[in-house]
Subunit: 187 residues, 2 copies
């Protein structure tokens, strides 16, 4: 029997929920064991039972985020490239507009020079896997330079989140990304 990933306990996933929200608001230094514990009604020492160090918690945060993010994208063999791209843009829009949060890995990517190594590595994996997914889409669409198109797509979406949040104008995200799927495929 292959190794099945152990399911997270109720408490562990509540810890991740709160930590993720805090990290996506202010970055790696913006969540603390104390604050998380206070919010979910336990003591900070109890968090160390589930995640021995902050580094481990950060790693679990990025791993869960990456799996959830990519898992939410539909299967590539069941959609046209345009549909896939529209879905990809919608995933970012939902994170920004509905949750009013930055992308976790956009945040950690900005801070990457001061992140613990394992957290930085997981963050890189997020982008690596996203690039692969997008390259597949652009290749299916017959793009001449799928690697560059994939990078442009991620860059514009992450940057649009930062810009819209900074200007406190979520419509700006819309106008900056509205023509992204069509334009990227036109190249």
């Amino acid at each position: 029997m292959p190794k099945t990933e152990k399911p997270l306990s109720e408490t562990a996933s509540r810890i991740l929920d709160v930590a993720e929200r805090m990290a996506r608001q202010g970055g790696y230094y913006a969540f603390s064991f104390r604050d998380i514990a206070a919010e979910i009604g336990i003591k900070s020492a109890s968090i160390h039972y589930h995640f021995p160090t902050k580094e481990a918690l950060g790693e679990a945060l990025v791993t869960r985020y990456t799996d959830r993010f990519l898992g939410a994208l539909g299967r590539l063999d069941e959609a046209t490239p345009l549909e896939s791209l529209e879905q990809y843009v919608a995933a970012y829009r939902q994170a920004l507009i509905e949750q009013d949060l930055m992308c976790l890995c956009g945040m950690f990517g900005a801070e990457i020079a001061r992140l613990p190594d394992p957290v930085a590595r997981r963050t890189r994996e997020f982008f690596e896997r996203n690039l692969v997914w997008l390259e597949t889409v652009f290749r299916a669409a017959g793009a001449t330079n799928p690697e560059a198109r994939a990078g442009e797509t991620i860059a514009r979406l992450e940057g649009a989140m930062i810009l819209a949040r900074s200007m406190n104008d979520m419509d700006l995200f819309q106008s900056v990304t509205a023509d992204l799927p069509a334009q990227a495929l036109r190249e």
Copy 2:
């Protein structure tokens, strides 16, 4: 005589230099009075003489950065739109490649939800002034939607910095932004 901005003392500008580098590596929580003081060989209490609070230091950081960044761009009436855009992209490239640092305001923009109000306000001003500059360029080029083009340009550049640093692949910044000036003007 109009109010002339008081020149920064030697020590004050060294404080800003060190704080800026730390902030551009890890964000607002990644620079501390102690670390800055240790690096320039004074005591942390002395920093409070020049910048009474961290909030004030952060504000000075963004103000100086914004003025320097926009000041480094050439005059719009002395260049073609394409030249202006190429210069704009080059400004980001230099920050990333030569200094190996994030854009300060890209970093603070990501963290904006947890920044002290005055620092957040200055960060917004950076983007506001950059949008105005770029809109002028796109308007001069006869673009039909200069606001959207300006936002796209900033978004792609900030996002490309994050992506390239995350992947530890500076060539990625080049390939993601190579066709930016030409493509943006073609619309």
